[in-house]
Structure formats: structure tokens, C-alpha cells
Symmetry: C2
Subunit: 181 residues, 2 copies
């Protein structure tokens, strides 16, 4: 799936500017299984506008710069339906954190514990993010399913990380004797 389809999908929920789309993939509903930067979102919107998949409307804002609000068109709806009615590619999960944990003997206790706590913080932040948007979308089945999935997976990850926090500090202390600082 590409950034184009992602933008169409977001716009099918509500109209938004490029900036707002970025915010949504960063810390909204979509954040935990999707990614996109300004450098890919803006060109995608411009291109889709040319192709008639989205429309724009300039919106003046008091106290803020103007924004271009994009909306999905009928043709965009068709394109989105087509893009979504395919066999999805396999999930991809990349974790430098787990790679570091795998090689923990090589990591200094300081780095290891910092990485561990940072990871836990991120998982908790993501978990809370889901909690906050969950209520407002209770009735929408897609949102409910995805939030429930995230909730299940994240709470399992957090629980595991919390259970093993103490043991890690010990292991880090032990292996730290050989690790490069």
C-alpha cells in the first residue's frame, strides 16, 4: 500500500489538510500501523488533485496560516474501493529495540536500560492514545476492531516488559562487565 491510498483512506473519514493528515498518522488512530512524512503526503495530494481523486478548498483561519482542505471525490471513492479490495501484503514489523535486546551482552547497561524504559514509555503512550480515541468511535466497526487489536497487543507487550524489567536490570549489570561502554 502506498501513501496515496493511505491519504484517500483518511480522507474517507473526514476532510483534512496535508498537515492534519501527517498529525493523524503521527499520533492519531492510524499511528500504530502506518507511517508517512510531509515529503510523501504533499506530493501525493497534489498528484491526486490533478487526477481528480480529491478536491481542495482553501480555508482561512483566524490566527493561523491558511490551509488547503482536501476532500475525497466520487472518483477517489472508486479508487479507494479498488485499492482496498486486494489481498493485503504481509505485516511488517521492524524493531531495533528487539535487535538490541537480542544482542544484549554487547550493549552497555546504561544504553540497555535507557532503551528499555524508552520502549516502555512509547508503548504506554500508544496505549493511551488508543484509549482516548476509542470512546468517540465506539459505533464504527472498523475503528472498534482496530482499536481493540491495538489494545490487546499493546497491553500484552507492556505487561511483558513490566514483568521483565527487574530481571533485566540484573542481567544488564552482569553482562555489563564485558560490554563496551
Amino acid at each position: 500500500m502506498n501513501v496515496r491510498t493511505l491519504c484517500l483512506g483518511i480522507l474517507s473519514f473526514e476532510e483534512a489538510s496535508g498537515y492534519e493528515i501527517k498529525k493523524m498518522v503521527e499520533d492519531g488512530l492510524f499511528s500504530h500501523f502506518i507511517d508517512a512524512s510531509y515529503g510523501s503526503i504533499y506530493p501525493a495530494l497534489t498528484q491526486m488533485l490533478k487526477e481528480g481523486l480529491v478536491s481542495v478548498r482553501a480555508e482561512e483561519q483566524s490566527g493561523k496560516p491558511d490551509k488547503k482542505v482536501y476532500a475525497i471525490t466520487a472518483e477517489g471513492q472508486r479508487a479507494l474501493n479498488e485499492a482496498v479490495n486486494v489481498e493485503p501484503k504481509k505485516d511488517k514489523y521492524k524493531s531495533e529495540f528487539l535487535f538490541q535486546m537480542l544482542l544484549m551482552e554487547r550493549v552497555s547497561p546504561r544504553h540497555l536500560i535507557a532503551a528499555y524504559d524508552k520502549q516502555l514509555d512509547e508503548l504506554r503512550a500508544e496505549f493511551e492514545r488508543i484509549g482516548t480515541c476509542c470512546d468517540s468511535a465506539q459505533e464504527h466497526p472498523g475503528t472498534r476492531f482496530v482499536n481493540g487489536y491495538g489494545h490487546a497487543v499493546l497491553s500484552a507487550a507492556i505487561a511483558y516488559m513490566e514483568e521483565n524489567r527487574a530481571g533485566l536490570a540484573k542481567a544488564a549489570g552482569d553482562s555489563g562487565l564485558q560490554a563496551a561502554e
Copy 2:
């Protein structure tokens, strides 16, 4: 993290050929949080050989083509230690499946259920993969931690998917009336 570091990390466990490294990231210990193709592994090994981070040895095999077995050198060990003693980047999880679920009203029941069952199969396969390599590496703390993490997260995902399988079939049937087939 790049493919170079990934290869060094794998070679720090045991020597291997490019082909074997690919197998490991495909369905070994590393498969669930890492990715790499031949097109990136082979060039990385060649380059690191030039730089002295790995060494090669040609191994003749009866009944199979010869292979080039790579091993990490002392300099490679240093490079790996350095690469691993940094703040890890945030995890990245990309899921077309969850994107499809989010937009489930647009997906035909046929596609939706196929995608769902495929996802469940993949999660189960990954879960079993962990189970099989778990025993042999019981004592290694890094392996144990990572396997435990995968175990916790995957069983939560599988449980959630199984719980919601029946409800989905119903929802798919309902929304299928409007969805494009």
C-alpha cells in the same frame, strides 16, 4: 539500523552464507521483527569483506552447490558493538491488514474474510516458529527475552483475532451489501 548491522548480528551467533542469512530473517529467530532481501544481503557481505568486518571460506557440499560461509572478524565485533550501543529508533509496524479492517465497509465479504484468515494463519505460523526455536536457546538471555516478547504479543493478537472471528463474519455479511465485489 541497516542490513550491514543485521548481518553482523546474525554472524555473531554463528557463521553463515548469504543464503542462510536470508533464511534466518525469513523464518528464523529474527523473522518477526526484521527484514532483508538477497539484493541487500549479498552486496552488504561483499562490502564488509572488503572492509575486513567479515571473512569468507568456500565450503564444498556434496549434492549442493558450493557456498561461501562468512564469519565475523574482530574488527566486525567492534563495529557491531558500536552499532548496537546507540539509542534505537522507534519501532515501525506497517499493516495493510489493519488498514483494510479499518475500512471494512469498503471491502467485499470474500476479500475481508480471506484477509482475516490469512492473517490468523500467519500469526499462528509465527507463533509456532518461536515455540520451536525457544527450547534450544533457553539459556541465552537475549534470545529468551525476544522469544518471550514475541510469544506474549502474538498470543494476544491470536486470541483477539479468534474472539472476533464470528462477529466479523456477521459484520462482513451486513456491510457486504454496500461493498464493491
